[in-house]
Symmetry: C2
Subunit: 371 residues, 2 copies
């Protein structure tokens, strides 16, 4: 019988009037605060039920100053990586009674900035962001200064003292590289999906994501300690855009002194490697060994199954939301950076390096090998 006539919604005053009490009393009952006698409580609840009352959370938020909502800005929800993370965030948030407003930055710092403004305008209680750039971060500093809790997800921003939840990318890259070196590889490529005009890596200034930098450092460190010289020459960037990945990979594999192993920064890149290889008539692991970041389900059903670096993506999201909620609730200890462990899952995409014709640099390499 609650024929809510699409006109105006039922307010607390309506309920109060119908129950024959004051607005304040009705609010106390319906808002579960203050005191009210059992008789009155029942009367009010009954009236509310009869009228189909539903609280206006906006009004509530305005007076209380809390919206019970957290804002989340990710690079791209379409990417299963973020999908899993968002699920983790969502689960943790809901468990704590918070809702989630989601925004997409498309890995664009300007859009990210706009999204921050909007979410702040909506008075979210806190923010979780995967910063699109380590350079353009004024807006994040502003959030911090405004005192609203902020948690960085998956990536850090140097000089910004807020909580962060990340995986140990440096170590993961190092372990993966070491695994390839142990299989006999000396020419190891790292192909990243990170935005870049120039596909050739020329130095840290090109990199605007902390994760990417860490991985590069990991690859280089492992290579160096195995005596491999100038490992940076096999690093490629910007393999994200459609078509670009194939170009980068095929040029790399057809060039002189080609790499015998590839470390792919994510699933999409790994997929590109697969496709390019098929087109080139090469196969894994005979002609090329492969390790990919992110243990997507499908990586175990390809032929051969791909060796991957498994990242606890769901946990990354869950943990970041948990931390954010604690901050909102008012835990005031110093911000920390939680580093979650990754696992190298060895499958069958690593083999011995193929015999390749001698090349200009081989002498140096073999010489170094002894050291």
């Amino acid at each position: 019988m609650k024929r809510t006539t699409s006109k105006r919604l039922v307010t607390i005053s309506d309920v109060a009037q119908s129950a024959g009490v004051s607005k304040a009393t009705a609010a106390r009952v319906l808002g579960s605060y203050g005191t009210a006698s059992p008789v009155v409580k029942e009367k009010v609840r009954e009236a509310a039920r009869k009228l189909g009352y539903q609280a206006n959370e906006l009004a509530r938020s305005m007076t209380t100053g809390k919206s019970k909502t957290i804002g989340v800005i990710v690079g791209d929800i379409e990417n299963p990586y973020f999908g899993q993370a968002v699920r983790g965030i969502s689960d943790a948030a809901h468990a704590a009674g918070f809702d989630v407003i989601l925004s997409n930055s498309g890995e664009d710092a300007a859009k990210e900035k706009a999204a921050v403004r909007v979410l702040l305008g909506k008075r979210v209680d806190g923010l979780i962001v995967t910063p699109a750039s380590v350079y353009e971060t004024q807006h994040l500093h502003e959030v911090q200064r405004s005192g609203r809790p902020l948690v960085l997800l998956d990536r850090t921003v140097p000089g910004l003292a807020v909580d962060a939840v990340v995986t140990d990318d440096r170590q993961a890259a190092e372990a993966a590289t070491r695994a390839l070196i142990e299989a006999g590889h000396r020419r190891i490529a790292y192909i990243s999906a990170t935005e870049s005009d120039d596909p050739i890596y020329r130095g840290p200034h090109q990199i605007n994501l902390s994760t990417v930098m860490e991985r590069i450092e990991g690859v280089v460190a492992a290579s160096r300690s195995a005596g491999i010289e100038h490992p940076e020459r096999y690093i490629r960037l910007g393999a994200n855009r459609r078509g670009e990945g194939d170009k980068i990979i095929s040029e790399l594999l057809q060039g002189a002194d080609r790499p015998t192993a590839i470390l792919a920064s994510d699933n999409v890149v790994a997929l590109e490697v697969f496709k390019t290889l098929r087109r080139l008539g090469m196969s894994i692991p005979q002609d090329l060994s492969l390790i990919a970041f992110h243990d997507a389900d499908w990586t175990s059903v390809t032929s051969p199954p791909i060796t991957v670096i498994a990242q606890p993506v769901y946990d990354l999201g869950f943990e970041s939301a948990r931390i954010l909620v604690r901050r909102i609730t008012g835990i005031g200890d110093a911000p920390r950076c939680r580093v979650l462990a990754t696992t190298l899952i060895k499958r069958q995409s690593i083999g011995a390096p193929p015999e390749l014709p001698e090349s200009r640099t081989v002498l140096q390499n073999t010489a170094a090998k002894i050291g």
Copy 2:
């Protein structure tokens, strides 16, 4: 110099005072409504800039009654299918100046109901929902009655006259089944991930998703018109839970009179088929032909690449948000159900059915084959 002291945020009154005008005038300038002289405009804007003013959208929404926010409830964001759809929604919404609040129902009607309450409480301007059940829909009817725009995504609810954007599942299933029949198959299984206590299909009462029902109808119709008797016997449900999928598939494939082809309701199920097959030492398409719903990237790199039914998932989301926005803006025509086309992408997972030992039902089947 906008040292926003984390205490209280700057309000429009603060700006008005600083600019030496009334609150009403400042609001007119900052809210872009009404009139104000150029001089005053500049003064107010300058004051706002100086103080770092940012509008409280909550307060704004409360008076205007519009929140410029749409609520989205999907089954599972972790699922790339919904990830893509959400991206489409998000893009269309932002383009029209709307934000998105996301909720997860986990395909549970009760949770969906709760999510609807919450979003309505937050006074979203409209809702996009992938209904978890065709039976428990009171909450959706209530949304409709309340007059707030509602768009159904991917699935319909019979008897609920609201806009919907779906793919033509019946036809897709029919086309896929026909492709298998043309390759010579007569024993075609449909394995669905839909929730069910009993993995064996016994009738429509078990099904609570419109898409699932349509697909079953498609499979059955195509089979029937090819003279295949009792095609329902190869339909299995509930392959979603971990472990359950493998069990269902292996029982099906090891049973007497086993199917020679499988139509998988989504990627996850297709993946399960792959894994189970590997465990059983069977291969595609020699021992079994496979078609899967949803053209995920990876389906093209398995060995063999999988024939899939490509669904325009992003468009599904984009279109639903576009329609919702139009409704919010006040287009009052009768609700419609948009049906987007699917494409059968033939790859290499379909082959001729293997020679199988005669079984109890073969006689009927071969007899029927002639018709």
